[in-house]
Symmetry: C2
Subunit: 391 residues, 2 copies
């Protein structure tokens, strides 16, 4: 069930080890499920218990350490040899006397790595304060280095194989957005439209199925559009209201986020139509201008200058690197399209650029996920950019 | 958009403060989204950035501190007065120079709590090693106490209002399981059946819509049943194969998990039919025996004695407290139905008991979510307990 060839993972490990060398890290403890997947192929909904991948400078293969019952999943989804898959006994789970990180430390000791410089992902979602404390206590001779996002930065440039999967996610995203627009109507409950969207996300296309996106569908309307991360309710959509659609397609944990705005009714205000035109024009011209060699902040500046000409301004970040991920986020926490970000755009970096213009009591958003090409950029989904008026 | 009356939250806070008193904690920093919800009502998919609720011994209301753009969501979903909702500027997000926990520490200092005994959830999912380090650095005069699961233990006994919501989750769970059984058939892709299940989860019933469960639907078949946390693929279900169904209904973040086993084809083996009979009989008699006053480990013993009579044994944990939660888990990380757990069963504690019997190359599982009543227990869903043979 390995998604890519083993050689792809070995190449990734080479790049990661170069970064470890630069940072003086001998052993990397990866708790971020996306980084565990990236280095080994491991894919399972098991990140609710502590689990790690160890990348060791002088070892050809990483080690997967997780709950005993998940070792079979590691055997099925990774390229690792059996001795590099280590499951801890179930009495470590939610125990008050011991912690899975003590087991991880025991393996590190057994293999003679207890006095190494150990890189840990201090700010990863599934590396708790306790997990770090237990590692520190169990490995008093180790030196710990914060290696948050070390692997994430390697993930920034995708391989051709990864791009192929993201194009599939893009196809799914097109279906997903069309499904949302087809099912939105005044009187239909929010939950029922979101349910159809979920179905489209998971069913995918007739050619390939979908995976669960790392963020739930966001389809707020009315006052709820002021609070961007509230989920749906049982309320019906109403006539003469705008609806923000922040959705995604996902394939093998790779994402293509996509945002559009719909208007239910016949009479979108001139103000809304105007901000939609300005935003779409800005999206088009910003995408047209993107080229490898530019800095991330240059991209934002093009957009900012465009809206300034129309008398608008917007908070600074308009996009971020994304691709492989697990809940709760599809962003990669590396490059951002915002002032001050000096990351140089290179071919096969992948971003989600989301342009949202929020006024006092109305707003419009439109986004694209794209890769940098040799000469410009290419979106993963192909979907009209406009205000969708549905009457 | 507050789900319960304000009085319900105030009652919860009273119980939490009793526990804080016992542990000598003056100020509790809650980063677990379920605990943030439990104490304030806050509900949003914003836990991918650092956010906390502060419960202070001498303050009537908690403080919500999160990303600026989520403050509107806090206003809409909580009972908090406006001055107790504090949003941090967006340049704290994924910054390399500062961390949202520095902002949290600033508020703690401003309010004069910098030298208090501060309880933190060291092993909560969204409280990273870095988050704790930043708090420690910014508050050198504070004493930190590990308060992991302090609120979770208060959550163990549900109010009547919470039970009402969980009964709704139970109704949704019935629909969800029926949808899975209706759509399973040889030749249908796994993703397409899971897609229908998702739709049922979110759509809910005609009376009330559903919420996203904290764990994705698990519907493995064939070799994948040996790896319990792998998600679906594009492969079609096959004839003469068993399928494990680990699903849930969810309403307002409250869950009713439910597991059953289906067999596609005409000829389930005698061994499978036998283990199904033994398991269902064990589930029935264990549920019948449950009474308030028993210990959690007593429940497990009834089951263990039953299967021992039939020549089987099983690893020890057969259930756990559950209810309100967010991804990646619906379990509450408190009481478990396993040897050594001396928790005394009390009315309106809620559990998921999941009985899985895994042999070399076949297996059967069946589960119920239930509350302890004054005299016994009551399941949230009402769904037949048997091997579902679908030909």
């Amino acid at each position: 069930m390995l998604i890519f060839e083993k050689t792809e993972y070995l190449l990734r490990l080479e790049k990661i080890k170069e970064q470890m060398e630069i940072k003086g890290v001998d052993l990397l403890v990866l708790a971020d499920p996306a980084n565990m997947n990236y280095t080994t192929g491991y894919d399972g909904w098991s990140f609710y218990v502590p689990q790690v991948v160890l990348v060791v400078k002088d070892e050809a293969q990483p080690l997967w350490i997780g709950r005993g019952m998940d070792a079979a999943g590691a055997t099925l989804t990774t390229f690792l040899k059996q001795e590099n898959i280590q499951g801890y006994p179930d009495d470590y789970v939610q125990s008050i006397t011991k912690h899975p990180m003590n087991y991880v430390a025991d393996i590190i000791k057994q293999r003679g790595w207890a006095d190494k410089n150990i890189g840990v992902e201090m700010d990863a979602y599934y590396f708790s304060a306790r997990a770090f404390r237990e590692l520190e206590k169990s490995l008093p001779n180790a030196v710990f280095t914060d290696a948050t996002n070390l692997v994430n930065w390697v993930r920034l440039i995708k391989s051709h194989n990864e791009i192929s999967i993201m194009k599939q996610a893009g196809k799914i995203a097109e279906n997903v957005m069309q499904t949302a627009l087809d099912n939105l109507s005044p009187g239909t409950r929010e939950c029922d439209v979101v349910a159809k969207v979920y179905q489209a996300q998971i069913s995918g296309t007739t050619e390939f199925g979908g995976d669960y996106p790392s963020i739930v569908p966001m389809m707020p309307t009315g006052v709820k559009t002021t609070a961007p991360h509230l989920t749906w309710t049982d309320d019906p959509y109403e006539d003469e209201q705008a609806v923000n659609l922040e959705l995604a397609g996902c394939k093998n944990r790779y994402h293509c986020p996509i945002a559009r705005t719909a208007y239910l009714g016949n009479n979108p205000s001139d103000k809304l139509s105007n901000i939609a035109d300005v935003t779409v024009e800005g999206l088009n011209l910003t995408l047209d201008a993107i080229k490898p060699g530019m800095l991330c902040e240059d991209v934002e500046l093009i957009w900012r200058n465009h809206i300034a000409k129309h008398g608008f301004e917007k908070e600074s970040r308009i996009g971020y690197a994304m691709g492989l991920n697990y809940p709760p986020d599809w962003g990669e926490h590396t490059a951002s399209l915002r002032p001050g970000d000096k990351t140089v755009l290179k071919p096969n970096m992948t971003f989600h650029m989301i342009l949202g213009m929020w006024m006092d009591n109305y707003g419009f958003e439109c986004s694209e996920s794209f890769r940098i090409t040799e000469t410009g950029c290419e979106t993963f989904a192909n979907f009209p950019r406009k205000l969708f008026v549905k009457n």
